[in-house]
């Protein structure tokens, strides 16, 4: 715990605290602007972190952006009926009707306080679970890691929007995109098709910038004429009374637990947590018919859960180096780019890194609630920034940002190609998140499988007989069966129409 306190104290010193405030503020603004997302902001910021003197400050900035972006989505969800981030999609159902009925301040206040409560509960899990899980994870060998990567891929594919097959396809495409270049086991080049530029493989940052940012810019430009009905933000009745807290206590705790648990599951993001918590709140409610009409319980459930997923998702990141969400995948890539191997050994070799993440999560939540309460009115105005000016600037940043990593022109082409690919995949309803998770974890999956096979003289038996990897495989198999059954049912329903 000493390292945690020293990390927390470091964050409240002037310069790191400035990065924290800046990160949260930028995150809130980006989260609030429909079409922009935390993943975009963090991906675009990663190349700039190379020029920050201290990597801890870079981590503080990135984690603060994460917290801010998940929270900011509630502003546009409430005032525009357009979720700024996918995580706020359930907030629109009750936030917007409530704002329309003249209670915009109340709706925003409930959302802000619920976000804070969700963040706090998930932080408790993060700080308690992480060291324990990290110790447990040190027992992992190559087979356990391989089984866990398989589970993560199947899990994210099965809960992806659309069909599971499409999620799996995206995951495997990500894995295959990570393969060209030098094969680390043999030192030989592979799958370069004779192109010298491919000998280093596809660099992570241009791929991320293309898939997540350029594709979204194109998508937003295509929908540039979409109109939204804006409601002005009021700051009346924003603070929750003691009675409100008492009335909502069960809802907050339940939604926080759901959000944290969904966050911990590898590969699943805040939107799923929010949907699960909202559905449970409606199912257990005595007045389920009020949900979707501007009901306070709906806003609380959605916003508590989506912020709780942040802390939950950081658990597998700091303990095992497995992304709990897409943004975690980007954070892992930032650690890798700074030559840090995320995983349980980080607690031993560089304990300041995981504890900086944990401490930043707490402090960023406090900063978020203060910033949101004080400045929501002004942020709401920024939400309506003209797309025609914003999107080209983002596009230029992506192109220049992809070049900056290695000063290679080839990377700019990679960003553009993956941007178009991401746009086409979205049009075809193929989810992008499994692609990125596959791209990041593909190398780990292959290297662990190969090390495992070398250690067992070519036998795959330990994958099934070792207790932890066996358990992961059973879960993977169950998930696959469940998803395939669901898939078949959907196909039958479609063909019956």
């Amino acid at each position: 715990m000493d390292v945690f306190f020293s990390s927390a104290l470091h964050i409240v010193t002037p310069i790191p605290f400035m990065w924290c405030v800046l990160g949260v503020a930028l995150g809130i603004v980006v989260g609030a602007i429909p079409g922009l997302s935390g993943a975009m902001l963090i991906t675009m910021t990663v190349p700039l972190t190379f020029f920050m003197g201290d990597f801890h400050d870079a981590l503080i900035l990135l984690v603060s952006m994460y917290v801010g972006s998940v929270s900011g989505g509630l502003i546009s969800a409430t005032l525009l009926r357009m979720p700024g981030t996918p995580a706020a999609v359930m907030t629109t159902l009750d936030g917007y009707p409530m704002a329309r009925s003249g209670q915009a301040g109340r709706a925003l206040g409930l959302g802000i306080m619920a976000s804070f409560a969700g963040g706090l509960v998930s932080w408790l899990f993060l700080v308690i679970l992480s060291p324990m899980l990290a110790i447990w994870a040190t027992k992992f060998g190559p087979w356990e890691y391989f089984a866990m990567v398989a589970m993560a891929l199947v899990l994210i594919a099965s809960v992806s929007s659309g069909s599971m097959l499409k999620g799996l396809l995206a995951g495997f495409l990500g894995i295959i995109a990570s393969m060209p270049g030098v094969d680390e086991s043999t030192g030989r080049l592979r799958l370069t098709f004779g192109f010298d530029e491919w000998s280093n493989g596809l660099t992570l940052l241009p791929v991320l910038l293309g898939i997540f940012v350029i594709s979204q810019v194109l998508k937003y430009v295509v929908d540039i004429d979409a109109k939204s009905e804006a409601i002005s933000a009021s700051t009346k009745n924003m603070l929750m009374s003691l009675k409100d807290w008492k009335d909502q206590a069960v809802n907050i705790i339940r939604s926080s637990l759901i959000g944290t648990w969904v966050g911990i599951l590898p590969g699943i993001g805040a939107s799923i947590g929010s949907i699960c918590a909202y559905s449970v709140a409606r199912n257990v409610s005595k007045t389920p018919e009020k949900f979707g009409t501007g009901f306070e319980d709906g806003i609380i459930a959605s916003e508590t859960a989506n912020n709780a997923t942040v802390g939950g998702a950081l658990v597998p990141l700091v303990t095992m180096g497995i992304p709990g969400s897409v943004i975690d995948a980007i954070l892992i890539s930032a650690l890798l780019m700074h030559n840090l191997q995320p995983g349980p050994l980080l607690f031993v070799t560089e304990p300041e890194i995981p504890y900086t993440i944990i401490a930043t999560h707490l402090i960023a939540n406090v900063v978020m609630v203060v910033l949101m309460l004080v400045s929501v009115k002004w942020i709401a105005r920024l939400v309506q920034v003209p797309t025609a000016y914003l999107m080209p600037v983002i596009l230029m940043f992506c192109i220049v940002g992809s070049f900056s990593m290695q000063n290679r022109e080839f990377d700019m082409w990679v960003a553009i190609v993956f941007g178009v690919l991401g746009f086409a995949m979205e049009r075809a309803r193929i989810p992008l998140a499994p692609f990125v998770i596959g791209f990041i974890l593909g190398d780990l999956a292959e290297s662990t499988l190969r090390s495992g096979l070398m250690a067992s003289a070519g036998s795959i038996e330990p994958l099934f007989t070792r207790p932890i990897s066996g358990t992961f495989l059973v879960i993977t198999a169950l998930l696959l069966v469940w998803s395939i059954v669901t898939e078949i049912r959907i196909t039958r329903q479609l063909s019956a129409r």
Partner: protein
Amino acid sequence: MKPESQNAIIELALYLLFSAISVAIFFNARTLPTSTREPLGSATMPQIVSVIILVICAALSLRALAELRRGMARNAPHAPAPDPAPGRPREVKRYGLATCLLIYSIAFVGLLQMRIVPARFLAPLFLFLCIWTLLRFRKRSLLPAALVAGVIGYGTSEVFSHIFYINLP
């Protein structure tokens, strides 16, 4: 053509592309020498993954074809076109604008790579073209577009070069 049919065609085209890439990777991996000191070697994983992608693409293509057939049946001349949301204005998709942005991006990167014009001049020009295109070439937006593009484009290149020390082309 209806959106479902359009989506099905895009899906089919993508599955075809992914299948072609997988086949290329499969055969390229076959040329890799086998490893003498480890059981799996460099080629096995790419081959396994490309076969899985092929199988998934085949399954998804069949589904997309079925969807396309259903869409075409609904598009038949005798079938009345259903109005998805009566009273609501139809949402117009601006693919032309996105294509323009893409062309500008390709030209921007191409010119940067050829190192004909320095980035500090190209960036404002690229921004101006993008902004003015998105503002539908309105005359009254010419000046604000030029101003924003000039300040942000030039400023960003200078910041990248002199603060972040990124050696822009």
